[in-house]
């Protein structure tokens, strides 16, 4: 892996979104990943629809939660994702109003990634932002800086929030992951969370995945 990488500087990441009062982080994590994959394979950065997943992924539970692995399957089954403009976010479950004619992006497959953070960094630098899930301990009160909670407080056994790895690096010799969250820009560092890298902090390495666009 290169010593640092930031997909935001390379135009692969859309602006920070806001899931509102709805447990749909899984949908934002997956669309963020697909946005990056599509950008890298096709050269267009499109803001994609989370509401399509909230309404039409019948395996997951909309605002009650979901799993990225199921969401990739739903995107494949539906035939793709519409854009944010065509199927905009409301933050609550609605009747599915997906239209195959409005699909702008498709995926061909999805893959699970390594649990090794060095390998994840290498994969990210080469292939794009990664959908991950973490233990959200402390995030309710996080303001800025690199978070590194004591291991027992932020165990990998209690994963409860899906987000998007968009880069990594070091700040004053402290290694970090740059994480795009979906709680709006008035949270964290302009909507981003920085988590310690290399120690498996908060289970950052246990549920990494990505869509595959051929």
């Amino acid at each position: 892996a290169p010593p640092e990488w930031d997909w935001r500087k390379k135009g692969a990441v859309t602006k920070v979104k806001n899931q509102g009062m709805c447990g749909s982080c899984w949908a934002f994590s997956v669309t963020g990943n697909v946005e990056g994959q599509w950008f890298l394979k096709r050269g267009d950065l499109l803001s994609l629809s989370e509401q399509e997943l909230v309404d039409c992924d019948t395996v997951d539970k909309a605002c009650m939660g979901g799993l990225p692995s199921n969401a990739y399957s739903a995107i494949e089954t539906l035939g793709g994702l519409e854009t944010e403009d065509d199927y905009s976010y409301s933050g609550h479950l609605q009747t599915c109003s997906f239209s195959a004619q409005k699909v702008k992006v498709y995926i061909n497959d999805s893959v699970e990634l390594s649990h090794n953070e060095q390998e994840l960094a290498a994969w990210l630098a080469k292939n794009g932002p990664i959908s991950i899930a973490i233990n959200a301990f402390g995030m309710q009160f996080y303001r800025h800086g690199i978070s590194h909670p004591l291991r027992p407080l932020c165990s990998r056994w209690f994963i409860d929030h899906a987000v998007l790895l968009v880069g990594y690096g070091n700040r004053s010799d402290v290694p970090f992951w740059a994480i795009k969250n979906s709680w709006g820009t008035d949270w964290g560092e302009e909507g981003y969370y920085y988590l310690h890298r290399g120690s498996g902090a908060c289970g950052v390495n246990v549920m990494a995945s990505s869509a595959v666009v051929n």
Binding site: M21, C22, G23, C25, W26, V59, D60, M64, G65, G66, L67, S69, N70, Y72, S73, S110, V111, E112, L113, S114, H115, N116, E119, A122, W123, A133, A136, F137, G138, Q140, F141, Y142, R143, H144, G145, I146, S147, H148, P149, L150, P152, L153, S155, R156, W157, I159, D160, H161, A162, R171, S172, V174, W183, G184, W187, Y194, H196, V206, M207, S209
Partner: protein, 256 residues
């Protein structure tokens, strides 16, 4: 060594009492550290299950504890009678170390006594549990205090509050309301939200003291929500179960 696929979390399995003895003993020792001087609890019945991932294990325990009356007149504050508690503990075992991740204890409901552990277990609420766990962990790791920060609040529950505590809290709450445009329907709701806010500031400061990175914790737009509200509204409990569709694992090929 297990394959990568095997390193993922397995399903919960029932566990024998022998297997549960060490994590239960660890949970008891941690529980006892949080009791008042002179007080002590002993293990009663233990049951539970285990979930394994890689070289680690997570134990979910249902335990009865007998809290013994304080017998040392030099330290006993009140004449306390013996009582039985029903506790749920979650204990992880990784890298040769146990860690108490969750603790939920409550007195046995006398009507339910003898009706089974699961039915009689008290549920004082997530805030309470997290508070206890944080407090006990904080006491276990005094060296992790950020020495450069000047605490707004006492870091131990036994320390007295600063004289201007409520003034400073009211001022912070006012800042929060203004910054995040909060309005409350009634005076009662505002009072209730302010009490949550104060508890959250105490919690944020404990998290701050225990953080080994450079992060700053404090007032955010979620500061007037209880932990339970925050979890229910914004988080995703399904991720913990990890029972989604299995995906193909990407093989990493080292390329110099």
């Amino acid at each position: 060594a297990p394959s990568r696929r095997d390193a993922g979390a397995q399903a919960w399995e029932p566990a024998s009492p022998e297997l549960l003895r060490r994590p239960a003993r660890f949970a008891l020792d941690t529980y006892n550290r949080g009791l008042a001087a002179g007080a002590r609890a002993v293990l009663g019945t233990v049951s539970g299950r285990v979930r394994r991932a890689g070289r680690g294990s997570l134990y979910s325990l249902k335990v009865t504890l007998e809290e013994l009356p304080c017998t040392d007149p030099m330290v006993c504050q009140l004449p306390v009678t013996k009582k039985t508690l029903l506790c749920s503990f979650e204990v992880s075992y990784e890298l040769g170390k146990h860690a108490l991740l969750k603790q939920d204890c409550g007195p046995v409901d006398t009507k339910m006594k003898g009706a089974g552990i699961a039915q009689g277990c008290g549920d004082p609420g997530s805030d309470f549990i997290q508070g206890l766990a944080l407090t006990s962990l904080f006491q276990s790791y005094p060296d992790d205090k950020n020495e450069t920060s000047s605490p707004l609040l006492p870091l131990s529950d036994r320390d007295p509050l600063p004289q201007d505590f409520y003034v400073r809290m009211a001022s912070l709450f006012k800042y929060f309301i203004t910054t995040y445009n909060r309005t409350y329907e009634t005076e009662e709701e505002a009072q209730w939200r302010m009490s949550i806010f104060i508890n959250n500031m105490i919690k944020a400061q404990k998290i701050q003291a225990l953080d080994r990175g450079t992060a700053q914790y404090g007032v955010t737009k979620f500061s007037d929500l209880t932990e339970e509200e925050f979890r229910t509204i914004y988080l995703n409990p399904l991720l913990k179960e990890e029972l989604g569709k299995k995906m193909r694992l990407v093989k990493f090929v080292g390329d110099p």
